[in-house]
Structure formats: structure tokens, C-alpha cells
């Protein structure tokens, strides 16, 4: 393999690791904010569980990203010392928590994608990628079961919960589209599988699939929503106040 080809492979692999790692990290950060503020103790525990799984995955992906990059950046260098324009998380992961419906719909739309992507990455030619994907896939199956279950409960619960859930679904829907614009993976096939799964859950939840086909995008180029820079300001503040410190 020529040097050029190798570096192209590495760049694409690096991008993939950031895509997955940043998405997991940012969503985990959002979920962590529920800790102590959930609607029931059991939910606090379950949300924290998901946050922990995602954080664990983020660490694996970012460590691998650093390894692939070969510039000496470890998971913390990547998490704490990049600016928002350098983050590659999906836009949907940085959307605010909102109410419980918003958190759960966001989670469901993401989980459904996450599971399918990890399934495909489980057969990636790079064994390190395949190994992380296989481990994460197991965890995500559980996340998806839970978030789908909540979407059904809230959609098919009370009048109020139905209205809130439909509103949040309409709100978040434009952020779903960019999930399928991923290198290395067949976006169309992914979308078809995702659609089938999401449609089934929405039907159970008595929710209407939004008609809009428009997809918000930009995160692949580091063009995020206004939310990310605020999230990072908080996440990175202590680390950045003490450059070079060990914790």
C-alpha cells in the first residue's frame, strides 16, 4: 500500500471513530445532566446507565481515533481540547434535553440508527473497529429496547404525553436525516432499515411520522447547532483551566 493510500484510509478511519465517539460522548453528556433530576428514581438509574455505556464507548472510539491519528492525542486530549468546529458528533446528540419526551425521542431516533450502524461495523475490516462495535452493539440493543418502550408509553399514554411526544418528534425529525450521510456505510440501506423499525414503533405509539423529508446537516464538517459550543464550554471548563494537569 502506498503512503498516500494509507493516509487516506487513516483519515477515513479517524473520521469514523470521531463520528461514533463524539456522538456517544455528547449524548452521554446530555444524559448525565438528568442525574438526580429524572421523573422517578428508576429513570435516574436507567438514564445514568445509558450515559455510562455511551461514555465507555466514547472512550474506546476516541482512544482508537488517537491511535489512528498517531499525533499523540489520547481520549482526554480529544474530548477536552478540541473546539466545537472540530467535533463530529451527529447534530441530534447535542440537542437539549427538554422534557422527558424530548430526551426519549432523541434517544430512540439515535438508538435505532446506532444499533444498525454498529451491526454493520461489526464486520468492519479493521478488527479494532469491529471489536468496539460488537461490544457497543450489545449495550445499544438494550438502550433501544428501553427508548422504544418509552416512546410507545408516552405516545400511547395520556393526552398530554401524546401531544408532547408528537411535538418533540416533529422538532427532532429534521436532525435524523444526516445520520445516513455516513462514509463507509451504505446510507440507503441503513435508512430503509431504520425507517422500517422507526415506523413500527411510531405505529405502536400512535404517533404520526413527520412528512418532512428535509435533513438538517453540517456536523460532518463540524458545522453544529448553537447548542454545542455551550455544552463544550461547560464540559471542558475544569480541564482547560489547568493545562497539563493530571486528574
Amino acid at each position: 500500500m502506498s503512503a498516500v493510500a494509507a493516509s487516506t484510509v487513516d483519515a477515513s478511519l479517524f473520521a469514523l471513530c470521531l463520528r461514533l465517539g463524539d456522538s456517544a460522548l455528547i449524548l452521554s453528556q446530555r444524559l448525565g445532566a438528568w442525574c438526580g433530576h429524572g421523573p422517578a428514581l428508576e429513570e435516574d438509574i436507567a438514564l445514568t446507565n445509558t450515559a455510562l455505556d455511551l461514555l465507555g464507548q466514547a472512550r474506546l472510539w476516541l482512544s482508537l481515533a488517537g491511535e489512528v491519528e498517531g499525533a499523540g492525542r489520547d481520549e482526554d486530549a480529544l474530548a477536552y481540547w478540541r473546539d466545537d468546529r472540530e467535533f463530529r458528533n451527529l447534530l441530534i446528540t447535542e440537542q437539549p434535553n427538554g422534557d422527558y419526551a424530548q430526551t426519549m425521542v432523541r434517544q430512540f431516533l439515535f438508538d435505532a440508527w446506532h444499533r444498525l450502524v454498529l451491526e454493520r461495523l461489526g464486520e468492519h475490516h479493521d478488527s479494532r473497529v469491529a471489536a468496539i462495535a460488537a461490544k457497543a452493539h450489545k449495550e445499544v440493543l438494550y438502550h433501544l429496547r428501553r427508548s422504544a418502550d418509552w416512546v410507545v408509553r408516552l405516545g400511547d399514554g395520556t393526552e398530554e404525553s401524546h401531544a408532547r411526544t408528537q411535538a418533540t418528534l416533529d422538532l427532532l425529525w429534521p436532525h435524523a436525516g444526516e445520520m445516513f450521510l455516513i462514509d463507509e456505510i451504505d446510507g440507503e440501506g441503513l435508512r430503509a432499515d431504520w425507517d422500517a423499525q422507526v415506523d413500527a414503533v411510531l405505529a405502536d405509539a400512535t404517533l404520526c411520522r413527520p412528512a418532512s423529508t428535509w435533513a438538517q446537516q453540517g456536523s460532518g464538517q463540524g458545522r453544529h447547532t448553537e447548542h454545542l459550543s455551550r455544552l463544550l464550554a461547560e464540559m471542558q471548563v475544569v480541564a482547560r483551566a489547568h493545562p497539563g494537569a493530571h486528574w
Binding site: 433530576h37 461514555l55 410507545v152 395520556t158 461547560e234 486528574w247
Partner: protein
Amino acid sequence: SAEERAFQEAIDADIKVEPRDWMPAAYRKTLTRQIAQHAHSEVVGMLPEGNWISRAPSLKRKCVLLAKVQDEAGHAQYLYGAVETLGASRDALYEDMLAGRMKYSSIFNYPTLSWADIGTIGWLVDGAAIINQIPLCRCSYGPYARAMVRICKEESFHQRQGFDIMVSLCKGTPAQKQMAQDALNRWWWPAVMMFGPPDGESVHSAQSAAWKIKLFSNDELRQKFIDQTVPQARHLGLTIPDADLAFDAASGHWRIGAIDWSEFYRVIKGEGPCNVERLAARNKAWDEGAWVREAALAHAAKRAKRSIGEAA
């Protein structure tokens, strides 16, 4: 009565009381209050530490902190489970706390002002909690004793993690070390007060001791904490904020200066730095979660109805 005598004899013989056993009303009431307050403490205790999850300075520390706060929610679950075996309603007890009719540990009415507070809470607050709780693993009420066994195991893990944060800070930059000292300065006395008022002022102790709900006096446990902690502080190179602290070679104990009990009673009374906010945060979560809990119930009811319909 004969029942009371038999009850006390069983306790004296170290036979555990189980939920279906006969027990004196006062025993049930005392235990209900004690376990519920302990459960509430775990729930409220999630807040001060939760305050730093978003800002943990490394991903590993963030993981550990998330897991710790999750454990606290789990402890609350065990404890609410134990208290329910006494015939109490978990929601009713929780609402008593929300309304300010039941207490939780006063230590959580202090703010967490820097990352070093997370280390200090693990080291001192969990350290004190363990000393308080280890004897409870042998307490007379079976479900409580068993819950405490699980909890103590996890707490000692937390305590080591907290101390580990302190080690990193104290081996770190001058700013990190200063952060650690500042946190110790603020948490030391509140931690010392976690064992409750001095023995002379502590009420109900005799009965609780006879029932094996309380196995050591406040001052005994406090001394144990001090003897354990002072050398740790020295090992870290931190100074305990007590000019009167001295080693008493005769007894082999560290003796501390006078405790400002007025602060203790003030915070219990509601005048701690964060009492209002902690309760407000828990009330907000509960109130804003109402529609979610209702939706879950409504959906469960619909589903049950449908499955009956299908069965018919």
C-alpha cells in the same frame, strides 16, 4: 407483654427480625424513620455530586462519578425496598421529605464548589458514612441489615475512589493542591458533625441500643473517623483546619478542638447553604415528572385492558 419479651430475647440472641415477625410499634416506627431518612439521604446526595458530572476533568473520572451517583440511586432503591417491608409506602415517605416533614442527612446541604469537592466527599463523607453504617450490617432488622451489607461494599469502593482523586490533586499542580486544601477546609467540620450530636445530647440511644438498631454511640464513631482520617490527611500533605488538633499518646487517639454545634443545629433547622435549593431541586424533578409517571400508568392500564380483551 409476652410478645415484647420474646421479641427482645430473639434480638439478644442475635436472631434477625423479619418482615412477617411480630414487632413493637415503636420499633417499627423508629426503624421506618431511620431507614427512610437514610434512603432520602441517598436521593438528595445525588445532587451535590451530580453538579460536577458535566464538568469532570477527565473521561475516566467522569465515568467513575457517573457510576457512583448511579450507585447512590441504587442504594436508595434497596433502602426504600427495606422500608416497604415495614408496611410503609415509599411514595408517601418520599413526599414527606419533599414537604420538609422528613429529614435527610444534613451534609448534603453544603455546596460542591470545585472538582476537589468530589474527591473530598468521597474521602470524608463516604468515609464517615461507612463508619456509621458498618455496624448496621449487624442490626436486628433483617432486610435493613442485608441492604447495608451491599451498600457498605459499594461505599468503601467510593471512598477509595474519592481518596484517589485527592491523591491526584495533591500530587498535581499548586493550583490543584490548593483546590484540595480548600475543599478540606470546607468539608472537614461538616463531616465530623455527620455522627450527630455528642452522646450527652443524643436522645433515644438506650432503646435503640437495646433493639440493636444503634450499636455504637455518636462520639465513639466520630472518634473512629478522626483516628482514621487524620493520618490520611497527613499522607496527602493537607492540613486539617483545626488548630487544636493533637495526638493524645496516652489513649492513642487524635483529639479535635471544640465543634461548633450551633452550625449543626442551624443546618438541621433549614439554615444551611443549600437546604432550600436541594429540596427545590427534588420537588422540581418530582413535579415535572408527574406527567411522565401518569403516562406510564395510563399506558400500562391500556395495555392491560387490551390483553384482557384479547384473552376474552
